[in-house]
Amino acid sequence: MNTHPTLPEFDYLRPRTPAEASEFLSRHPGEARPFLGGTDVLVRMRDGFLTPRFLVDVKGLDGANDLRFDPKAGLTLGAAVSMNRVIASAEVRTHYPLLAEACRSVASYPLRTRATVVGNICNASPAGDSIGACLVLDGVLHVHGLHGLRQEELGSFFLGPGKTRLEAGDVVTALHLPLPPRGCAGVYLKLGRNQLSDLSIVGVTALGHPDSSCPSGYRFRLALASVAPVPFVPVAAERHLASHPITPESLREAAQLAADACSPIDDVRGSARYRRLMVRNLSATALAQVWGRLTG
């Protein structure tokens, strides 16, 4: 690992349109990279894990800095919108407080001036704090590629640590969150080595809402950070809560199912065994909190 304070040599460009960006990126596969806040990319470059020949700054593209809420369609976050802007937005706090809560747990205020939610997603670390909220809120990425615009659902977007469905030429232009389910409540519980600012040892995102199509009358959504190769959705736990009456027992059973389903590893922040236990405990806490809020 090379932790010298200087960055390796590279060239920097700032395309004016998505077409220009996609064209350049596709002409330099494997050696050109889209560049947003840089809070992950620059660190990885400094440590020698990434050596792009070109950084393609896409913060200036049309709409990149837009944060828009449409009462019929939902929230659109341009790719360059910083986490601090998301946290400060009245519309996000009103309609998607879970996303603001998740962003607030990231690093520090100065870092969040630069860090972006789209960048957090595209960096595709299983530890990405804002990813769980975007998953349970059914986030969709707007992507501009060589063949034009397309959408990518987050549920199928992550392929492995740092790996996504994006290909050479792709630029994510925005994240879209549909309108939140009526009456929903959500929480993000993050366990770190300290109270604030660390990367997560375990992160649990829980969202619940009334849903008459579920036998239990409620639908719960879960996402786990740092306990699998990708941001992880424990589907069996979700199904358990959709199909069984919600009781302290069934919430605990769901938490155990979540713990059973994940695949944590040992690393500097915690052991696999500890992580699995914390998934169980924090999922139980998160689900109980959400249930408490749903039932007043």
């Binding site: 304070p5 060239d11 920097y12 809070t39 913060k59 205020y109 630069r114």
Partner: protein, 159 residues
């Protein structure tokens, strides 16, 4: 590696600087402009010793490329007091004993100043949250937090 010509305003002074793409804002300030008040603690956006204001908001300058700052307005510790001798937060941190080795201090002052701009009456939790990205190995933070509270009181008294 190509050089990029950028125009920035630093502490109210217009500057024209020629920078390679791989030069961070932190290195540009220190190496091109001799503004060495901004410190390099980690080069990874984790310690906050390099905190400056970029268009009014605090950033870890080691996480910003100089080339991205064309047209930007930057305030470093050297410019925090503006026309005055000391900003309120600089007075109070000295009075409260919130400085020992001083290495974290420029970044702490920038972050604290920015906090008081957006929240003139912060509670203790808000101060701690705002300064969580500015690590200090010497003071144990207590005197620093007290100095932010005192600066807030000073500023509200001044009206």
């Amino acid at each position: 590696m190509a050089l990029h010509e950028i125009h920035v305003t630093i502490n109210d002074e217009p500057e024209q600087v020629s920078v390679p793409a791989n030069m961070t804002l932190m290195r540009m300030l220190r190496e091109k402009l001799a503004l060495t008040g901004t410190k390099n603690g980690c080069s990874a956006g984790e310690c906050g010793a390099c905190t400056v204001l970029l268009n009014g908001e605090p950033v870890n300058s080691c996480m910003v490329l100089a080339v991205e700052c064309d047209g930007a307005r930057i305030v470093t510790i050297e410019g925090l007091a503006g026309q005055k001798r000391l900003a309120p937060i600089q007075e109070t941190i000295l009075r409260q004993g919130g400085v020992q080795c001083g290495f974290c201090t420029p970044g702490i002052l920038i972050s604290a100043h920015a906090l008081l701009q957006r929240n003139p009456d912060p509670g203790e939790d808000e101060i701690r949250e705002a300064l969580v990205g500015n690590l200090c190995r010497c003071t144990g933070y207590v005197r620093i937090i007290e100095s932010v509270k005192e600066a807030a009181r000073m500023q509200s008294a001044a009206g």
